[in-house]
């Protein structure tokens, strides 16, 4: 009771969040996984991190060398997975330090004894997909892409939604009436058809997907922010700010926004998980990112094609469910923490 009186409400929310063990640990696990995945090139790559060849150090990860450097035959970059090259750089006093998983998302394992998709083995811990690419590597890179994609999409959606909602809620009246109708018309556009049309018009890319999904993703949030601003603009402290001579922009930024952030923050994890799911399902349908990009949806689609290759669908499913569950636990904890009716 006593100490709590002297801390800001943000601090209080954080304390309540930390008290929810499940949500708090979910946040930690999610953050660790995401930060690790940011270093995917170091964790899972087909190039060695460091090579010591005849007393000199080489860093193939950063710099590209020719095969001739290591005593090979070609003037091109060596295929470090090739047993011949591997033998060259590890023979005698030479040594090479490979990443934990020695495949990149697009490395094709030609050395496999099984036909593709190959089941898990000592080489490919989670097997390979139908083109002989390592599933673990694709999962790591795919997770990273999904999360970054979702974060960017959410950030854009939040910014657009807050701006649109704030303007409607604060000014109200005719402006609000017309923009509400426009939003209703906009929201009734068939998103999926538009995506299919655009996928055939343009070269599919991550950027295109972000733009298209952002066009529709901000509306749900705008409604909530609008309601918060609507409620807030009649509060006495807003009137007081107006009578102090503050500009509309200042009032919205300093007074209404901090008090209207509750739905925004509460919905954030759910929006992120929604965005991950959206990308996955679009990829699954083949409307998403280009085929060479590592993506969870594409792996799921492969799993569907090769239903007997259980390692494809099962591992992707596990990653997807795990990620979404962590996000939902975080969201739940946040929602409870933002609930001011709770003491503490």
């Amino acid at each position: 009771m006593n100490d709590n009186n002297f801390i800001s409400s943000e601090r209080r929310i954080w304390n309540r969040f930390r008290n929810n063990k499940r949500g708090y640990y979910s946040l930690i696990i999610f953050s660790v996984l995401f930060i690790l995945s940011l270093f995917a090139e170091v964790l899972s790559n087909d190039k060695p991190l460091i090579v010591n060849y005849q007393g000199d150090y080489y860093f193939p990860l950063i710099k590209s060398y020719t095969e001739k450097t290591f005593g090979g035959d070609f003037d091109t970059e060596p295929d470090y997975v090739d047993p011949y090259v591997r033998k060259l750089i590890t023979e005698g006093d030479n040594w090479a330090w490979y990443p934990l998983n020695s495949f990149r998302y697009d490395t094709i394992n030609y050395q496999n004894t099984h036909p593709n998709p190959a089941p898990p083995s000592a080489h490919n811990l989670l097997g390979t997909d139908d083109r002989g690419r390592d599933v673990l590597a694709r999962l790591i890179y795919g997770f990273r892409l999904s999360v970054i994609f979702a974060l960017v999409l959410t950030a854009i959606g939040v910014v657009l939604g807050v701006i649109a909602g704030a303007i409607q809620g604060y000014f109200g009246g005719r402006l609000d009436l017309f923009s509400q109708r426009i939003i209703e018309i906009w929201a009734s556009m068939p998103e999926l058809y538009l995506l299919i049309i655009f996928a055939s018009l343009f070269e599919p890319s991550v950027l295109l997907l972000i733009i298209l999904l952002s066009l529709f993703g901000w509306m749900g949030l705008a409604d909530y922010v609008r309601a918060e601003f609507f409620k807030g603009r009649n509060m006495d402290y807003v009137k007081a700010a107006r009578s102090l001579g503050l500009s509309n922009r200042m009032i919205m930024w300093r007074h209404l926004l901090p008090n209207g952030m509750t739905p925004v923050i509460t919905f954030m994890p759910f929006r992120i998980s929604g965005a991950i799911l959206a990308l996955t399902s679009l990829d699954f349908l083949g409307l998403g990112v280009p085929p060479s990009t590592p993506s969870l949806g594409e792996l799921l689609a492969q799993g569907k094609e090769n239903i007997e290759s259980w390692w494809l669908s099962l591992s992707t499913f596990a990653v997807l469910v795990g990620t979404l569950m962590l996000l939902i636990f975080i969201g739940e904890a946040l929602r409870e923490a933002m609930d001011t009716r709770k003491g503490g």
Binding site: F6, Y237, A240, R242, L246, S247, P258
Partner: protein, 537 residues
């Protein structure tokens, strides 16, 4: 009074809390008796535990969040604390009834008044619908509701505040309770209606011969009404005295403090107001809200919130604007500061306000400021006190260095009597009086020439009220600020204002120097208002 009392509370303690958090004691070892037919008033400031006491009698607390640490509540010799929920339900409404402060929220808005009044009769008396309805009409008639056979089918929002409180009383009386608990029954009502409700309660008490436990913060109000007064402070009963004894020779320090907290003149009559030195002058202010109806929103009439009002205000002068709720006094204030669109001309400090755009007004706004009624909603909950107080300074004086800025904040805090340690804290950590001081600091830091005070003390306890009024008066003398003081409380006006303006339904009723108006009110409405608010003095 030799017989056993009707209700007897013996060293009752109530504690609030839940889970592992330590329980806070809100009522501490309180004992009191109410005899049959007695009118007892329980008086205290907010947070004194008086309402908690009343709710304990009916066991209306959330049982998960409260516990009774000690004591008994004996009603006709039986301990109510030992009753279970279903036994308690038989007592509620039939033996003990309660009326609440806010008559709007005490009725369910989706049911007609009649249906809600019939309910206890069906439940406790076992009457059939026809006879119950007849009884309700009689009761409504008895509580002074005009045309009760029509009103019985009205929804709560169709009745005025006073009528709702009457209906509430009718509901409480439906089963002829032996004890009526009235929790601030008149606080939310206008003064003229307050008197009517009190008189009605007194009348009914005599007719029904019931006991009344009246809970209030207003000592003066119960002076006429009660037989005996109990004073509570921070959960403890500090004085139990009959009315005459309490007012003539109060025993406890706190009672004396409460009695001394009534607003008294703050020396306004000694001020010399220079007649020609006008700061604000407004001519023919009109603010109409259109009433629209039908599919095409045809304009069918206007609500005349402010109807052709002219006024002038001198430098260093306080003009009191008095009126009951809905009289348009706040709207008038908002119009004068151009926070509400209106017709008419406004001249402030030799500059015309009425034809300026909001953008042009922005830089002038520091000269005319507002302090609001509710100190809880007028401070943004997510800003520190430093941010709140310094906000206007940042907007109007961006040229200040951070040191000068901080010094100005300290000076303002000092002037309103607040500590500089408070600057980094948030509004929710402060009491109502402190919050109102913060709101005043936010305003005076800009050195305004005019402050609109919109019921600045109505939400505060009496003892705090007096301090805030004294502070405002000090600031006025020091900086020669003009006040537009909006209030419904005539006692406050008498203490603060040089001149008074009485408003009713948007129109000006009477205006004059404060003492002249109080001593010789010319208008009939003013006389009614005065006699109502001075009812108990």
């Amino acid at each position: 009074m030799n017989e056993t009392p009707l209700l007897s509370i013996e060293s009752l303690s109530v504690e609030f809390g839940h889970g592992d958090t330590p329980y806070t004691r809100v009522v501490d070892e309180v004992s009191l008796d109410i005899a049959k037919g007695e009118k007892l008033a329980l008086v205290g400031e907010s947070g004194s535990g008086k309402s908690v006491m009343a709710l304990s009698v009916l066991q209306l607390h959330d049982r998960a969040l409260s516990r009774y640490a000690s004591g008994k509540i004996l009603f006709e010799g039986k301990n109510l604390l030992e009753y279970n929920e279903s036994e308690m339900r038989k007592v509620r409404g039939r033996d003990i009834a309660m009326i609440f402060q806010e008559p709007m929220t005490a009725f369910n808005p989706v049911y007609r008044i009649g249906e809600q009044l019939i309910e206890p009769l069906l439940l406790h008396e076992g009457l059939d619908r026809q006879t119950a309805r007849k009884r309700v009409i009689e009761l409504l008639d008895r509580t002074g509701i005009i045309e009760p056979h029509k009103r019985i089918d009205a929804f709560p929002h169709m009745l005025s505040g006073g009528q709702r409180q009457r209906a509430m009383i009718a509901m409480a009386l439906a089963c002829k309770p032996k004890l009526l608990i009235a929790d601030e029954p008149t606080t939310a009502l206008d003064v003229t209606i307050q008197v009517q409700i009190l008189e009605l309660l007194e009348d009914l008490q005599r007719d029904f011969g019931m006991s009344v436990l009246m809970i209030t913060h207003d000592l003066n109000m119960v002076r006429r009404f009660a037989d005996r007064i109990c004073v509570m402070q921070q959960g403890r009963l500090v004085e139990d005295n009959d009315v005459k004894g309490l007012f003539d020779s109060p025993k406890h320090q706190y009672t004396i403090h409460l009695l001394n907290s009534q607003p008294e003149s703050l020396g306004v009559e000694d001020d010399v107001i220079v007649e020609n030195d006008t700061l604000l002058s407004a001519q023919h202010i009109k603010c109409y809200f259109p009433i629209k109806a039908g599919f095409f929103n045809k304009h069918i009439g206007d609500v005349k919130a402010v109807d052709d009002i002219s006024l002038t205000l001198g430098k260093g002068e306080t003009l009191g604007i008095v009126g009951e709720s809905g009289s348009g006094k706040t709207t008038l204030g908002m119009c004068l500061l151009r926070l509400q669109d209106s017709e008419g001309s406004i001249e402030f400090d030799n500059a015309e306000l009425h034809n300026k755009s909001q953008r042009e007004l922005r830089s002038m706004r520091r000269h005319f400021q507002i302090v609001f009624q509710d100190p809880f909603s007028s401070l943004s909950p997510r800003m520190t006190i430093e941010q709140i107080v310094g906000e206007g300074l940042k907007a109007h004086h961006p040229e200040l260095t951070s040191k000068e800025y901080y010094e100005r904040i300290l000076k303002a805090m000092n002037e309103v009597g607040l500590d500089k340690e408070m600057l980094s804290r948030y509004p929710h950590e402060f009491s109502g009086g402190q919050r109102q001081r913060i709101a005043i600091a936010r305003v005076i830091i800009l050195e305004p020439k005019l402050i609109l005070l919109d019921e600045p003390t109505s939400a505060l306890d009496v003892s705090v009220q007096k301090q805030v009024l004294a502070l405002l008066r000090d600031l006025q003398k020091k900086h020669n600020i003009s006040y537009l003081f909006i209030t419904h409380d005539l006692r406050v006006i008498r203490a603060m204002a040089h001149r008074v303006m009485v408003m009713k339904n948007g129109a000006l009723v009477e205006t004059g120097l404060t003492e002249d108006l109080f001593k010789q009110p010319k208008n009939e409405y003013t006389q009614k208002l005065l006699s109502a608010s001075l009812y108990s003095i």
